[in-house]
Amino acid sequence: MERVTDFKEKHDAKIKEIKYSLFLVRNSPLTILGALIILILILVAVFAPYIAPYDPEKTNILARLKPPSKDHPFGTDDLGRDIFSRVIWGSRISLQIGFTVVFFATAIGTVLGLIAGYFRGWIDEILMRITDMFFAIPSLILAMAISAALQTRSIYTTMLAVTFVWWPAYVRIVRSSVLSLVESQFVEAARSLGASNRRIMFKHILPNSLAPLLVQMTLDLGAVILVAAGLSFIGFGAGPNTPEWGRMVAEGRNYMTTAWWTITFPGLAIFITVLGFNLLGDGLRDILDPRLRR
C-alpha cells in the first residue's frame, strides 16, 4: 500500500481531537475565564519590566503610604515603594514558585508512583508508608519547619520546603491510576509482545494516567502559590524588600486601618491568581473526563 502523504489526512485524528477539546472549552465560560486570567498573569510576569512604572524596590520616604492616585494606581507602602510595580513584579515570583514546585513534585511523585503501583510488593509498602507519614503532618507546619531548618531566607528555600511536602500527593494520584491500568488488557498485550517494564510504564501506563495528573497540577499551581504566600506572610519566605505578595500583605498589615491599599492589592493578586488556576483546573477536569470524550 502506498502511504498517506497529505498532512491534513495524516493528522486527521489529532485535528479532530483538538477541535473537540476546543468545542468543550467553548461551552464552559468559567474555564475560558480561568485560562484568560492565567494568560494575562503570565504576560504580566514576562513583561514586568516594561509594564511596571517604578522600580519595585526603590524606597521614597517622602511619598510613604500615599493612597491610590494617577501616579501610584495602587498607592505606596510604608517605605514609599509603588505597590502597583511591586504587585506586577510579584507575579514573577509567585509563578516561578508555583511552576517550579509543581514541576518537581510531579516529577518525583510520578516516578515513585509508577514504581509503587507497577511493582507492588515491599517497595510499594515502603513508599506508601513514607507518604502516609507526610500526610500525617500538616503540610504548612512541615514546610515551616523545613524553612526554619534551612536558615537562609529566599524564594528558593520556600520552593525547596514546599516541594518537599508536596510530592507525596502525586505519588498517590499516579499510583492509584497505575493500579487499575496495570490490570488492563492493553498492558497485558504489551507484555505478551515482550515489552520491557520501562516501556510499559512510560509508553502505556503513564500516557493513560496523564488526565488526572494534569488536573491536579493545575489546581496545585494555585494551592502552592497560596501556601508560599502564607509562608512569606509569617516570615518564612523571601527576604526583605522582595516584592512577594505574601510578604507585602505581612508588611502592610500594621497600616491596614489607615492605609487599606497596602494589603488589599497584593491580597487581590493572590486571590485572582489562585481563582484563575482553580477555574482552569476544574474546567480541565471536565474536558478531560473520559465520560465526556468518546
Binding site: M1, Q185, F186, A189, L193, G194, R199, K203
Partner: protein
Amino acid sequence: MSDVTYTAEAGDEILRVENLKKYFPILGGFFKRPVAYVRAVDDVSLSIRKKETFGLVGESGCGKTTLGRTVGRLIEPDSGRIIFKGMDITHISQKEFRGIRRHIQFVFQDPFASLNPRMTIKDIVGEPLVIHTNQSDSEIEDTVLELLEVVGLKKEHLYRYPHEFSGGQRQRINIARALALRPDFIVLDEPTSALDVSVQAQILNLLKDLQSEFNLTYLFISHDLSVVEYMSDTIGVMYLGKLVEVGEAESVIAETLHPYTKALFESIPIPDPKFRGKGAAIHGDVPSPINPPSGCRFHPRCPHAMDICRTEEPALKGDSSHLVACHLY
C-alpha cells in the same frame, strides 16, 4: 486428515503441555497467607501440531484462559512442562523467553480494552517491531501498511486512534499486531466473543485465510462450541481446570463421549422456531474451583453419575485420536 492424533508425532508437534498446574492462592488473614487455592489449571496435558487449530472450549472460569496465558508465560505455571518447538520453555528466564516470544503471539478477547487508547494504529501495530527489530521508522511504517492490507484495513487508518474503530476493525488491528513478527503460533483468547455474529464470521474467516497464508498454528480458546467446531482441527474440552475430552474435531463432534461435552453440544441454540429445546441440558452451577468435588469433578451435575464417579478421578483414556476422562468408557 485421518491420522490426527492427540499425541502428535514429535516432528509434527509445535507445542506440548505436560501435567500443567496453576493454582492461584487466595490470601487471607492478617499476614496475607494463602488460605486456599483456586485450581485454575489442574494437571492438563495436550499437544498441538503445526498448522492446526486446537480449539479449547469450556465454561467461564474453567481455566482455559489461564492455560492460554501460561503458554505465553504471561502467567507462570506452578508445575508441569511447556515445550515449544522441542524446547522446554517452562523455567527459562523472561530474558531468554524474549526471543521465543516473537513466535508466540496473542489476540485478546476484548477489542475495546486490548488497544492502548493513547497510541495511533501505526504505533500499536508497529510496537512489536520496535521492541524486537532495529527497523527504522519508515521501514516500520511500510511493514504496518502491509499488515493493515493483509487484515483488510485501509492506509488512512494508520494515524487514527482505537476509539475511531468498530469492534470488528479493532480486532483486525489486534490480529495485525499479532502478525507483525511473523509468529508461528498465535493464542486466540476468545477473539470473537465480544463481536456481533456477522462480524464474528468475518473475523473467523480472516483468521482461517491468514492461517493458510502464513502457516500459522492456533490455540483457539472459546466458550462457544459452535465457533470452535467451525475453526478447529482438534478440540479439547475443559471443565473446572481439567481436560475432560480431547480429540480430532470430527470425532469429538460425531461421537461425543463425555456427558459434559454432550451437554455443551445440546445447549447450542438451533435457529428454528419449530424446534423447542428441552431447556438447559445440565443443571446447577459450576462448583467452586477452590474446593472441587471429589472423584470426577462433573459428577454433581452429571446425569450418568455412578458411585465410582464420586470417589475416583477418571483418567484420560481411549485411542490416541480421541481421549475422554469418564468412567462410562
